[in-house]
Symmetry: C2
Subunit: 455 residues, 2 copies
């Protein structure tokens, strides 16, 4: 009786752990600009060891690690990943040092374990495994783009893709994240929302006033509260004129995937402690909202006194932060303009609105594309259960330059899991997902290239 | 040619400075519970030196200094003052040590210089002056109530007055504050607003969520913004059902004082940096709103991220602080109930509302009362210009127990000025106001008691 072919060979398992341990030890926190050159070089070293031609490209921000190996007559897969991580704060909530890989209960812990160093390590090990299964050579061409600013909104990725368009030519793309859903079903995501982050500020005078003047002196806290409240209703529907005008209707295939998505709201409700979702959404409607609806989010609002007891003050200044999640074909700059017009029309001309970060366009890949179908089949083979095809994540990222500018079909699959605590203390990846997810990547490439392992 | 009789004798001027210097040196910050017994004792010492019978009464909070000297056949004046002060923060914005009296440019600087140690010193010096003008004896009976918790909402004053009702019998009352308005006209205030301070809080789940979940997960920042926005309109009018039902119409005399109040909005607009007041109010309408309109103030609102750049988070918790300024005959507890009903009716049943401090009832004294008329005449005599009779301050205080429970006519006059920076760094009192204000107190008592100085 032969061993399960899906099991990662012991030496590749050790290789995965070793790669991840070395990368986790580098505190490449993008928001703090730390260890960028050093981590880019560490990634470049491993891609060179795979036999790829590697270059570290300067950008206006952190360097991009570019690597390629074309195979004549075979298609090329582009891997988009990032070597930067979120800050480790609050450090005191970590069970062990965030920058020292630790193993407990079948999991590997450390900052970047799942986002995104653990995913990149899986791609590297998958390619080593592929070489072994195909006589020592890669059966397809590969290109890597590993950036260092994903966690701060990839401000230089659009320009990078524009500048290197020729060298980035490929036939399909594996995105930087993916894994199993809250029910441990393999998930295959085909799109990302766009995002436009907006700072709102208002100032009503020279300095805070005694609240005895309240019947005559304007109140910045109320003005900001009212401006923010006016943007959406209690069920989350935007009230900004024209906001939904460019929302592209779902295709039949997209609508079918959403309608047939297995229920997830129940376990998410329990995890996040929510009794009722917006609009009372459950089942397929919950998926439809999450995947296909744009939304105006309030990330924060601050004005005036927030301490104990009372302080009889009329605050002179207030601020709020919004992120607006967009779907095709909404345009971030047009949405910013619509929100500005809304504020002006509703008497909030004094509430200033500015971009907090470079916006990202929404993008979706056709879920009926062969690349997506091969990925679904590879996932079912690796996990023994059908893949959950998800039309769009609720999250955002620089998908637009790859899917729309380069025109690549993209799949988001990987080694993550729903309790992987990306961005949070005790970030982790599970060995069981490393096994299954890496094998799925191997099988996706073999199936798509039409090659089967030798021997 | 005799000297101006209004001028404070040199030795009383020195006495004022000495009293204020010793009291300012005691950091009796109510919010921090500092130096309470020590300051009460220092005040008691000076009132004993005036020949009064003094007792320091314990309360549930800081002690109250009580003093009295009845004069058979003469009426009795009750002085309400407080020995506590606001915190000195931000200390770095003071030109000199807040707890060391400093003299610059005809002003005395220090925490409490105008609120309220400088006013209390003026009352003491006025009584010493009165004794000198009347053969060494006070021409009227006097009672002092000097509390130590005014700056934290006088939580124990109502109970104190109830408990000592018999000993507090008097015929008229001089309130703890007063002075000249922004145009240096002597002001005579006859009422205070009530106040009810309310904490609003909301929690929408177990912990903050990634904002990719925004189309389905409730947003605490939006919910609090919308709840706060729903309470009033852009011009400051309350939208709470029943809010105005118990507002007592102004009497003819009150309406006439408001209609004839000299313009003040122009200089206030310049001082506070406001281009347009709520409702576009100017002139008499500005006074009407300030004196006769109740209002719901937002002191602060806080939820979620407030730092630089972006953080794609759905905040799980939000808070806001309100103070509601009331006019007769609004009841603080009824108003709290109306706001609760409003929130429930508008879909904000999850927004909790609790009292932040013990509320205060609104109160107004009849401006045609002889005590008020004598005060206006005394002010005109001291300042050489007519007094501005103000039906109500926009501020609040424990007037209700004195005006309504004890039934005293009350006037608010004193040595303050519009740039005295009460509660702020570089709090100060001007020598010119100490001269005029102290003389006005002397003359009020002489006119009201029908006695003229001897010799």
């Amino acid at each position: 009786m032969s061993a399960d072919p899906r099991l990662l060979p012991d030496d590749l398992r050790a290789r995965y752990r070793d790669l991840l341990a070395r990368w986790v030890a580098l505190p490449s926190v993008a928001a703090e600009g730390r260890a960028q050159d050093q981590t880019a070089e560490a990634v470049a070293t491993e891609l060179r060891a795979l036999g790829l031609d590697v270059a570290v490209h300067a950008t206006a921000g952190a360097p991009v690690v570019f690597a390629e190996r074309r195979v004549p007559g075979a298609p090329t897969v582009l891997f988009y990943n990032h070597y930067d991580v979120q800050p480790a704060d609050p450090v005191e909530l970590w069970t062990s040092d965030p920058f020292e890989l630790a193993e407990r209960d079948g999991k590997l812990f450390g900052r970047g374990a799942t986002d995104d160093k653990g995913q990149l390590a899986s791609r590297v090990v998958a390619l080593e495994w592929l070489k072994r299964r195909h006589g020592g050579a890669l059966p397809v061409g590969v290109v890597f783009v590993v950036e260092g600013e994903e966690e701060v909104g990839s401000p230089n990725m659009g320009a990078y893709v524009d500048a290197h368009r020729e060298r980035l030519q490929a036939d399909a793309c594996v995105w930087e994240f993916g894994g199993v859903d809250a029910h441990d079903r393999p998930q295959l995501i085909c799109g990302l929302k766009g995002i436009v982050s907006i700072d709102l500020t208002v100032r009503t005078g020279a300095y805070d006033q005694h609240s005895g003047l309240g019947p005559v002196v304007p109140n910045a806290a109320w003005r900001m509260a009212a401006a923010v409240a006016s943007l959406r209703d209690a069920e989350g529907r935007a009230l900004v004129d024209g906001f939904y005008d460019r929302v592209r209707p779902a295709t039949d295939a997209e609508a079918a995937y959403v309608a047939n998505a297995p229920r997830e709201d129940d376990v998410v409700a329990a995890n996040v402690g929510v009794e009722r979702f917006l609009g009372g959404a459950t089942g397929a409607e919950w998926h439809r909202r999450l995947q296909l609806e744009p939304v105006i989010n309030v990330n924060g609002i601050h004005s005036g006194y927030g301490g104990p007891g009372m302080k009889t003050v009329l605050p002179v200044a207030a601020m709020a932060k919004l992120d607006v999640r967009l779907v095709p074909d909404q345009d971030p700059h047009e949405i910013l303009g619509l929100i500005r017009a809304h504020l002006d029309r509703h008497g909030f001309g004094d509430v200033a609105s500015t971009l907090a970060e470079r916006p990202e366009h929404p993008s979706r890949v056709d879920p009926t594309h062969p690349w997506v179908r091969h990925a679904a089949a590879a996932l079912e083979e690796a996990y023994g259960t059908p893949a959950v095809v998800t039309v769009s994540s609720g999250g955002s990222g620089p998908l637009h330059p790859f899917a729309d500018v380069l025109g690549l079909p993209v799949v988001m699959i990987g080694v993550g899991h729903a309790q992987g605590r990306a961005h949070a203390p005790d970030e982790n990846v599970r060995w069981v997902d490393v096994e299954r997810g890496t094998y799925a990547t191997v099988r996706l490439i073999e199936r798509w290239a039409g090659v089967e392992p030798q021997g």
